[in-house]
C-alpha cells in the first residue's frame, strides 16, 4: 500500500503538471494562436487518449472477460441511446457490479 510521502508527491506532481497546462498557454497566447500543430493535437488527441485509457483500465481483467464485455456493450448502447454521461456510467457500472457480484462469482 502506498505511504503518505509517496501519495503527497503524486498529488504535488499531478497538480503542478495540470496547473502548468492550464496557466502557461495564457502567457504565450500569440504563438499559440499562430501555431497550427497545437490546436490540431488538442483536437485530435482526446479520442485516442480515451481509447488507450479504456485498454489501460482493462489490463488486469482477462480471466473475468464476460462481465466486462457485457458491461462495455451496455455502456456504449446506453450512451448512443441517451447521450447522458452520468446515466451511461451509472448504468454500465450497475450491470458490471451485478454480474461480478452475483452471476460470475467463480
Amino acid at each position: 500500500m502506498p505511504d503518505a510521502a509517496y501519495l503527497t508527491s503524486v498529488v504535488a506532481v499531478a497538480a503542478a503538471v495540470t496547473w502548468t497546462l492550464r496557466a502557461l498557454p495564457f502567457a504565450m497566447l500569440a504563438p499559440l494562436r499562430a501555431s497550427k500543430v497545437v490546436p490540431y493535437l488538442a483536437a485530435s488527441m482526446p479520442v485516442g487518449v480515451m481509447a488507450i485509457l479504456v485498454v489501460h483500465t482493462l489490463r488486469d481483467v482477462p480471466h473475468h472477460g464476460a462481465p466486462v464485455g457485457i458491461a462495455i456493450a451496455a455502456t456504449v448502447a446506453l450512451h448512443l441511446w441517451r447521450r447522458d454521461v452520468v446515466l451511461s456510467i451509472a448504468g454500465g457500472t450497475a450491470i458490471h457490479v451485478v454480474l461480478a457480484s452475483l452471476v460470475f462469482t467463480g
Binding site: M1, P2, L7, S9, V10, V11, V13, A14, A15, V17, T18, W19, L21, R22, A23, L24, P25, F26, L32, V38, P39, Y40, L41, A43, S44, M45, P46, V47, G48, V49, M50, A51, I52, L53, V54, V55, H56, T57, L58, R59, P67, V68, A71, I72, T75, V76, H79, L80, V85, V86, S88, I89, A90, G92, T93, H96, V97, L99, A100, S101
Partner: protein, 216 residues
Amino acid sequence: MMSRQVLPVGFAVAAMGLAFGVLVTRSGLPWWWATIFAAVIFAGSLEFLLLGLVTAVAPLGQVAAAAFLVNFRHVFYAMSFPLHRVPGVAAKAYSTFALTDEAYALTARPEAQSWSRARILGLQAFVHVFWAGSVTVGALGGTLIPPEVKGLDFAVTALFLVLGIDAFRDRRDVPAVVVALACALVGHAVFGEQMLVAAMAMFTLFLLARYALRRA
C-alpha cells in the same frame, strides 16, 4: 448568480464525485486522500486514472507523463477563456488552477467575454466545492458498502469509454481510434504495467507524422 446552465453541471460533477470517493475508499486508501486529490489536483478524469497508478505505486515520472497527456487538451482552453475579465495575481492564479472542462464549457459562450470577475470565479469555486464535497461524501459513504459488492471499479472504464464516444462524435476520426487501440495493445504486450506512457507516446508520434504528411 447561479444560472440555469450551472446547476446541471453541478449535479453531473457531484455524481462523478460520489463515484470517485467510493473508489478511493474501496482501493484501501484512507478517506481523506479522496478530499486531497479532489481539492488539490482538481482534474476529474486524471484523478480516476491516478487511483490505479498509486495503488500499483507507479513511478512519479509515469504520473507526470500521464498528467501531461491526459490534460494536454487544456492548452486549447486559453484561447477562449475570459481570463482578461479576472484582474489580480491571486485571482488569475486561482482561475487558471480551476480551469476545468466544466469551467471551459460554461464560459465557451460569447457573452462570457463580458462577465464580471465575481461571476467567473464564483462559478469556478462552485464547481470546485461541489467536486471536493461530493468526493468526500462518497469516500465516507464508501466504507458502508459491504465487501461482497464487487466490480465498482468498472466506473473508471465506463468514464473513459463515454468520454471517448463524445470525442468521436466531435471528430469522426476512425484511423485515430484504430491506431490508438493498436498502440495500447502493443504497449501492453511490450511494457506490461508501464504501457500507458509508451502507448500515448506512440499515438502522439502517429498524429504528428500524419500532420506533417498532410502539410507536405
